[in-house]
Symmetry: C2
């Protein structure tokens, strides 16, 4: 049976999916990634591929892998991922897996947008933007129907939009970055140690003025970044993914009010802003889509 | 002789150029635009086209027109230009000129980037960004070799990047926009009435601490917006055009220092930031390029 494979290699888990030509799911895997080194990851992924080869009676026609970090323009490997998962850097997946077809490698947030494009909230879009709101803030951009990767694969790092030219630098040295205004990673710092994750903060916004004030600052920061992205990229749709975006109306209600005040709406046109539809399945689905449509998307 | 025409219709002038197949200039025009209504503009442009038809012995093979405002995705007209040059809205240039070929219409800053791409500072780029720094701030984005126009032609409005979620709204309602931090339009307001244009401000930065402080704020705002654009679009090159960018080292020296501190440089990679090469000729050249390469660029 003809099928394609998408793999999402994260810091702790490997999620993989096998799809038929119509995009229907034939098989799924979701397991521990095996540790911190490339050899362990490779063994796990090879084992998933071997099982599906036996089960489906053939090699896949396309394989895509997404992971954190900046993927090379040749889509052979992650070229830059310092600090965390350094073993990814330069690891050539086609060679490591002795793969029957070239393995197409891309950034995990880029893959999540493509997953939403193929199967989720961004279906049919030619110009779309995804924000991933979690521990940190990432994202991806689709323009003219193509994935914007940029010169060195850095495009889509929406968490590193500056909201204050004189602000404290974030991990990429960006002054006053969006990531430091809404990401979970520094929420304790932003709330004097009172809250450690956004769910707890949101549970308290009606009773604790400090929580309400902190959340208001976060939403305004996200709103301003969305306004900027609208004015620079003019997408048809903006998709909000990641754990924080799953907060529902606690996020979308004040965000809508901010956009009602600050979005440029020529002729009454407004940009659609919606939650992601696929949750953490988006990456593997998008990696498969990238592998199949590599020529058109790049 | 086979030739293409590019026309830049501005608030006061019409600039036009006729190019041969190799991109060499066969003829130029630069004249008053004739007034505020579409009929007057049309008469002037028709007259330029008629003169070149007589001179060059043929109709042009391609015609492009750029103007302020948001061009439709069909590139038939400017669809949105409220307040200033409203007569542009919906004016169908192919029909108005009884043109021998479809006239391709685009935004003037988009055209300026394409001019720099074809003949100037951005030659050879696949991913490039232009900032136009003048009375206001505009710009344009090229990604994957294509002009990013967006859903309603709004893409590239880099002056409407927010630098403060709580800032005063600019003309598009963007809070704390770049345009209001560096554009000439409100320099008097930013300097307590002391300076009315950036050239005068720059002449005083060594002697007037207020001028130095105001200019420093402007450069930091531009630097932060450039950092954001780098992290979101990852261009190979950023081109700075418009009157303020012609300030040379007074702009580029402090801007380099800001980027040395705040640009994300994975593996030491740094984005090239250069002044525009073509001055106010870029728009007409880019309009011609757009007309010839419409299929590939969109």
């Amino acid at each position: 049976m003809s099928y394609t494979v998408g793999i999402d290699l994260g810091g702790t888990r490997i999620k993989a999916v096998a799809l038929d030509a119509a995009g229907a799911v034939l098989a799924r895997a979701n397991e521990d990634n095996g540790g911190a080194d490339a050899a362990a990851w490779t063994v796990r992924i090879a084992s998933i591929l071997a099982a599906w080869r036996a089960e489906l009676g053939a090699d896949p026609t396309h394989i895509g892998i997404c992971a954190p970090g900046l993927a090379g323009r040749d889509a052979v490997s992650i070229e830059f991922m310092p600090g965390r998962m350094e073993a990814l850097q330069g690891h050539d997946w086609t060679r490591a897996l002795a793969a029957p077809v070239p393995v197409r490698v891309l950034n995990d947030a880029h893959a999540a947008l493509l997953g939403e494009l193929a199967h989720g909230a961004a279906r049919g879009a030619s110009n779309a933007v995804l924000f991933t709101l979690g521990t940190g803030v990432g994202g991806a951009v689709l323009a003219n129907g193509k994935l914007v990767r940029g010169a060195i694969g850095r495009a889509g790092h929406l968490g590193h939009i500056s909201l204050d030219p004189n602000g404290a630098p974030g991990i990429t040295r960006c002054p006053g970055p969006l990531e430091d205004a809404i990401g979970n990673h520094n929420l304790a710092l932003r709330t004097g140690g009172r809250y450690h994750d956004t769910a707890a903060l949101l549970a308290a916004v009606d009773t604790d003025p400090l929580a309400a004030e902190a959340w208001g600052r976060s939403v305004r920061a996200l709103g301003a970044a969305i306004v900027s992205v609208i004015n620079v990229l003019d997408p048809e749709i903006i998709v909000l993914g990641g754990g924080i975006a799953a907060s529902g109306e606690a996020l979308f209600s004040p965000l809508r009010a901010y956009l009602d005040a600050h979005e440029w709406r020529p002729g009454g046109h407004r940009v659609t802003v919606v939650p992601a539809a696929l949750g953490d399945a988006a990456g593997a689905l998008g990696a498969a889509y990238f592998a199949v449509h590599f020529g058109e998307l790049t």
